[in-house]
Symmetry: C2
Subunit: 157 residues, 2 copies
């Protein structure tokens, strides 16, 4: 990005992205008391931003923070919902996260694993910028849609 | 069973079953210090037996006991290993158990969900007899093998 970092908020410019729109909707849906109504979108997504320097300073020992696991779940929820809007296929999230921060997260549609991510250093889950967050979500959704297109029968089983 | 219940141990006669043999091997493999070496197989499997009367008396509130979750995991491990011996396909277990005792357990091979069980009242997980335990394991393994045969490409993906 060529803009002076001092003139941009943390996380950089918020790109137009179907994934970010979905992720924001998922997060706002959890706010049943409306306490975040006045929060701008960038604030809701702020904790998804972890810069390279910050990442280096996050210890990877101890149980991952519940708030972090919540953010990871919302991230994959947003992928599942965007996938459903694009393909009609519903999918359910399952994860097996070891307390040391590694594990596996899957989205399952019918008999098909439409997305499978092996994660490690989950303590450091985050993205350099909103653009990187958007790109990760959009690209995983596209991968999941491609897997669905490849094995439609297993997904309908 | 026509035998007098007083002459049979709890759980009834131990049938010849590939599944029970596998389950016993899975459990013994966890016993790295050999403290169960002298235990007969029926003792190792004893906690899998829950009679109808006992089931009624088990409360289904509160978090399921970790020992119970351990038994459930070993049960599905045994299915995965027996499936591998029969078909060559390796599978990984994932589960999402709500603390109230309901949830879902899956075995995943490649991109295929070879076994998917929605569970509830997990607090009461158990079988009337060793024969019923054997039959449940054998029949789930057969179902998983049938799913594999139906979607071989997704399983290899």
């Amino acid at each position: 990005m060529s803009a002076d970092p001092d003139t941009l908020p943390r996380g950089g410019a918020m790109p137009t992205s179907e994934f970010l729109t979905q992720l924001i909707a998922v997060i706002r849906a959890e706010d049943s008391h409306g306490s975040w109504d006045a929060k701008p979108d960038a604030d809701l997504l702020a904790d998804y931003i972890v810069t390279r320097e910050e990442r280096r300073e996050i210890p990877i020992i101890g149980d991952p923070d519940p708030d972090l696991l919540w953010r990871v779940e919302r991230f994959y929820d947003a992928i599942a919902l965007l996938l459903e809007r694009r393909t009609g296929a519903q999918s359910a999230q399952m994860s097996k996260i070891h307390h040391e921060g590694f594990g596996r997260i899957v989205l399952i549609s019918g008999r098909l694993v439409v997305l499978s991510k092996h994660v490690r250093d989950l303590h450091r889950f985050g993205f350099e910028s909103f653009a990187a967050l958007a790109e990760a979500g959009d690209s995983m959704t596209a991968d999941a849609a491609a897997t669905l297109a490849r094995f439609p029968d297993a997904a309908r089983a």
